[in-house]
Amino acid sequence: MRTVADLGIGEHGFISGFTDEKLSLKLLEMGCLPGTEVILTHHAPFGDPIAIKVSGYTLSMRREEAATILINNI
């Protein structure tokens, strides 16, 4: 399964689900909803954390957190 952590800079995907129940609520509240488009915009030095564009704003999260967001490419 592809996750947001697999995206390269400038790549995008659509959220299809979450693998961590506890984090998923926080992510949902922050606007990471199933079906929404995410674009990876930045890596911090050493590749972690990352910043994504979602629902019209920039959200940062750690790589391990990004790995709980499943995506597909349609």
């Binding site: 609520l25 926080k26 606007g31 911090a44 629902s55 704003y57 959200l59």
Partner: protein, 708 residues
């Protein structure tokens, strides 16, 4: 007289609540462009008209009514509990119009709690720039709520907001959709049977968040747990499903009420300023370099640029002192006034330029939105040491003062990360250490230009001291990470706000205010202690002072004039009350290279380290070479001779030993009190005091032994 109605400002972090609060009340609540500026509640009065007042409550930001950190918990404890003294009559939900959908999630939850609500669309200017057109009349109809467009920063739209608030207060209308997702009637009935008639959505909030709400007793919590099990109710599932459901509805509403012009015409969204700046600031290599460059310029400013106004203040104080000594007759009072009081006050005033520069830089970082970027690029590094990207805010702002810095840890979600951050934050060099550093560096580091003739060697040493504090904080954090146990995993899901131009009015207010606090708060303590010390150093037990002067006269029959009075003054100080205190702890501090005079300074700066320089000035003015020309603290300390070696007392070894001691020692009552308040236990302030004192003592010992 009717009770004054209460309004709470609720909204996402960084939506502009505190700015709106300031606009409405005329107060100066701290604002800043990153999530997590406001950490506590603050009330003010909004004068709607003559005899028409409203109490406004500014609160920390929340993303939903389900809290994830301590600052968020505070808000829910107020909103969820109608018996709370701060429970509002109505709420203004402040929404960032440039990010409407996410902001409306919270709005819809608050409204469903059954509290009358007005929606304030803030940052209309930002939304406009990004190409959004918001039909707020339609939005008001779709959400059945009064909507007002405002610009909290500029204070535009207050009249519209006033109207909306008055209307809502009058009809107390809480349009309440009931439950976002149905649950069984028996569940709600059971909660209501146990806790009284309450709004169904609020009863669910109680059911799901009772652990974080202070209104419930242990028994009540057990009751709620039992109800939850009995009905097979799963809070996590419910909250997630609720959030999705709300967003579904809100997406439709926003689609109908908001048009994005940029989206319509361009396939590719336009590059904003924020995108361009982030290319530089978040660059894997350039980002770090830029941050280091900012820090370096900051220290150059604090040490090099600030020296010019500082020298002027120093000279002014010395001039005033000499002048007073010239016109006043020789007396005890003259001594107290010039060497005690004015020298003490001068010791405070001289640091105004440095404090001003420090606060200028901190406030620029906070205002522009760069602070969040620092958290972003530092998270990985911090995590290795048991900290968190969010720890950067406390660590950086404790360069100014550890007290607000420790409070700002409230937004750190994980308890372990927060605790470690609190414990190590005071190792960062705060502004009260600056005076000590400045005086000591000037004494032992030559004033030579190095590094391309651009950076000054003294500035460089200061920079190293700050870095030392930072690395010691990291090191201590790492040790604590190994010792403390984590209950929950930490996370770093955080909004990166758009960059905003700093408001110079705001920045200069911040500087002015902090300088004022420094001068008056620190000044009060320093002046008080200077006077007490002056008394303690001028008098001794029994006849000891007179004996001392007689003794010197007998021992040195052929001395006279200035030389004699210097010797007498020295002997007197040694036999004064203060001298006895200093002598008492001398054995303990000998290994660090300190004598009893420095011992006196250590004792007086035990509760507040800013007292050090004032103490030095009092001690050396009373017991040293009396030299009326240019009697500054620096010159007095420079003239001090080590009685054992006959060389200047303040050599490299002693200077650095003292510098290191003051860099690591916990000499601040206010910080310990804050740690106590934030951790609600005496254990942590004690640990903090203990490990920092040990660190200071051992490091100073090693430095002194290595250099001497």
């Amino acid at each position: 007289m009717a009770k004054i109605p209460k309004i709470a400002l609720i909204g996402n972090p960084n939506a502009g609540k505190s700015s709106l609060f300031n606009t409405l009340t005329g107060l100066r609540q701290k604002t800043g462009n990153f999530p997590g500026v406001t950490m506590d509640k603050l009330t003010g009065i909004w004068q709607l008209g003559p005899k028409n007042e409203i109490e406004v409550l500014d609160l920390p930001g929340i993303y939903s009514i389900y809290p994830k950190s301590i600052d968020e918990e505070l808000v829910i404890n107020i909103l969820g509990n109608p018996a709370h003294p701060d429970y509002p009559d109505m709420v203004i939900v402040v929404a960032d119009a440039s990010n409407l959908k996410r902001n409306l999630l919270l709005f819809s939850q608050v409204r469903d709690l059954g509290i009358p609500t007005v929606l304030a669309l803030n940052m209309i200017d930002v939304a406009e720039n990004e190409g959004y057109v918001i039909n707020s009349i339609k939005l008001a109809r779709e959400l059945s709520v009064e909507v007002a467009e405002v610009n909290a920063k500029k204070g535009i739209g207050v009249n519209g907001l006033k109207l909306a608030v008055q209307k809502t207060l009058k009809n107390r209308f809480a349009s309440n959709d009931g439950l976002p997702l149905p649950v069984s009637d028996e569940l709600i009935d059971e909660i209501q049977a146990a806790f009284g008639e309450v709004d169904p959505y609020r009863s669910l909030l109680w059911l799901m968040e009772h652990d974080r709400m202070k209104m419930f007793t242990k028994d009540q919590c057990a009751d709620l747990d039992r109800i939850m099990v009995k009905h097979d109710f799963e809070p996590k599932k419910y909250k997630s499903a609720e959030t999705v459901k709300r967003y579904e509805f809100l997406t439709e509403v926003v689609d109908r009420c908001v048009i994005n012009l940029n989206r319509q015409w361009d396939a590719v969204p336009v590059k904003t300023w924020t995108d361009r700046l982030d290319k530089l600031f978040l660059h894997p290599v350039g980002g770090y370099l830029f941050f280091l460059a900012i820090l370096f310029v900051m220290f150059q400013a604090v040490f090099t640029w600030a020296t010019y106004p500082m020298d002027a203040i120093d000279a002014g104080v010395a001039f005033l002192n000499d002048w007073l000594k010239g016109i006043l007759p020789e007396s005890t009072f003259r001594g107290l006034l010039t060497d005690g009081l004015i020298a003490g006050i001068g010791g405070v005033l001289i640091f105004i330029p440095q404090i001003a520069f420090l606060f200028f830089f901190i406030s620029m970082l906070e205002e522009t939105g760069y602070m969040s970027r620092v958290m972003f690029i530092m998270d990985k590094l911090m995590r290795r040491f048991g900290l968190n990207g969010k720890s950067v805010v406390p660590l950086l702002s404790s360069v100014a003062c550890a007290v607000p810095a420790i409070m700002s840890t409230r937004s750190i979600g994980s308890r372990k990360d927060r605790l470690i951050t609190i414990l190590v934050t005071p190792l960062m060099s705060c502004s009260a250490r600056l005076p000590i550093y400045t005086v000591l560096i000037a004494l032992v580091v030559p004033e030579k230009n190095t590094l391309f003739g651009l950076f000054n060697l003294q500035g460089f040493v200061l920079f190293i001291l700050y870095m030392l504090g930072f690395f010691m904080a990291l090191f201590s954090a790492y040790i604590m990470k190994l010792i403390l146990k984590a209950k929950e995993k930490s996370y770093f899901i955080m909004e990166l706000p758009t960059y905003k131009a700093p408001r110079f009015k705001h920045v200069s207010y911040t500087i002015l205010n902090n300088v004022k606090v420094f001068v008056f708060e620190a000044g009060k303590v320093i002046v008080a202690i200077s006077i007490i010390l002056w008394v303690l150093a001028s008098y001794g037990p029994g006849n000891s002072m007179k004996d001392a002067s007689d003794r010197i006269k007998i021992q040195n029959p052929n001395l006279s004039g200035v030389e004699l009075s210097n010797k007498i003054a020295g002997e007197k100080l040694e036999n004064s009350y203060a001298g006895h205190f200093g002598k008492f702890i001398e054995p303990a501090i000998r290994p660090l290279g300190y004598d009893w005079k420095i011992g006196i300074a250590l004792i007086t700066s035990f509760a507040a380290r800013e007292v050090f320089v004032g103490t030095m000035s009092t001690i050396y003015s009373l017991g040293g070479e009396i030299d009326n020309e240019n009697a500054t603290i620096k010159n007095r300390m420079r003239a001090e001779i080590n009685p054992q070696t006959g060389k200047p007392m303040y050599d490299l070894a002693l200077g650095f030993s003292l510098l290191i001691f003051y860099a690591f020692a916990m000499q601040c009552m206010s910080t310990l009190a804050t740690t106590y308040r934030e951790t609600k236990s005496w254990k942590y302030p004690l640990i903090q005091f203990g490990y920092m004192t040990a660190l200071a003592y051992i490091s100073a010992f090693l430095v002194y032994q290595a250099l001497s």
